[in-house]
C-alpha cells in the first residue's frame, strides 16, 4: 500500500514567486493535514481537511497560503507570493476517520516538500 506522497520533494524559488505543493494521502484516508517545520523550530499544524471540507485552518500563517482538496482526494497548498520566511519543510499527513469520534488514530506523514525561498 502506498504511503502519503508529496510533490515536489524539493523546490527553490525566488521571493515573490508562486509555489504549489501537492499531497496524495493514503487511499481511504478522509483526514488530510498540512504541517510545516521552519528551520530549527517545532513542527506546526497548518490545517486539516475532512474529505473536501476544511475542518480547521487555524494554523495557516496568513492569506498568502491557500489549501484546497477538490473532490476529497489529493490536496494542494499554494504559497503566493512566497517570502523568505516561508522556507522550510511542508509535511502532509493523513489518517482514517472512525465512527464514534476520535480514537487516537495514527497520523501518517509523507516525505515532506522542502521549500527554499531565495
Amino acid at each position: 500500500e502506498a504511503g502519503v506522497t508529496q510533490f515536489p520533494s524539493h523546490s527553490v524559488i525566488e521571493k515573490g514567486q508562486t509555489v504549489t505543493l501537492r499531497c496524495d494521502p493514503i487511499s481511504g484516508h478522509d483526514n488530510l493535514y498540512w504541517y510545516r517545520r521552519v528551520m530549527g523550530k517545532e513542527i506546526k499544524f497548518l490545517l486539516h481537511f475532512v474529505k473536501e471540507s476544511k475542518q480547521d485552518e487555524s494554523g495557516m500563517p496568513n492569506n498568502r497560503f491557500l489549501a484546497e482538496r477538490t473532490g476529497g482526494t489529493y490536496s494542494t497548498l499554494k504559497v503566493q507570493p512566497a517570502e523568505l520566511e516561508d522556507s522550510g519543510v511542508y509535511f502532509c499527513a493523513s489518517s482514517q476517520v472512525r465512527r464514534g469520534g476520535s480514537s487516537g488514530n495514527t497520523i501518517y506523514f509523507g516525505e515532506g516538500s522542502w521549500l527554499t525561498v531565495v
Binding site: K41, E42, G104, T106, F109, G112
Partner: protein
C-alpha cells in the same frame, strides 16, 4: 493549550548501550502521545503511540516508551542502540476525545547520535 518539551537537543550514546530520549507534555485532560522519527533527508515516520491501557508501549525497531501520568512524561527508550538509530526524534501530543485528535503538538526534536 497543549505543549511538549524535549529537554535535550542532542543525545549521544555508544552502540550497544541503552538509550533514552526524554519527553514531557502538558495537555488538558488525558493525552494521546506519539513518537515520530525523521531520518536524514526523509519524512516523519511513526514509531509508536500511547492511547490507553498498558503504560509501556512497544513500537517499531525495538523502541518502547513509558507513559507516566504523574510526571506527565513519555520517554522513548531502547535497550541496545544501533548506529542506524541515529536520527531526529519528535514527541507529539494531542488531547483525547472531542474529535481533536488530529492536531498534533510537537516538541522541538532531539537529535540522537549513536557512535560505533
Amino acid at each position: 493549550a497543549q505543549s511538549v518539551a524535549q529537554p535535550e537537543d542532542q543525545v549521544n550514546v555508544a552502540e550497544g548501550n541503552p538509550l533514552t530520549v526524554k519527553c514531557t507534555y502538558s495537555v488538558s485532560g488525558n493525552p494521546y502521545l506519539f513518537w515520530y522519527v525523521q531520518y536524514p533527508n526523509r519524512g516523519l515516520q511513526f514509531l509508536l503511540k500511547y492511547i490507553t491501557g498498558d503504560n509501556l508501549v512497544k513500537g517499531s525497531y525495538g523502541f518502547e516508551a513509558e507513559f507516566n501520568k504523574s510526571q506527565t512524561s513519555f520517554h522513548l527508550k531502547k535497550p541496545s542502540a544501533l548506529v542506524s538509530d541515529s536520527a531526529l526524534y519528535f514527541c507529539a501530543v494531542t488531547p483525547k476525545g472531542g474529535g481533536s485528535n488530529y492536531k498534533l503538538t510537537f516538541g522541538k526534536g532531539t537529535l540522537l547520535t549513536v557512535n560505533p
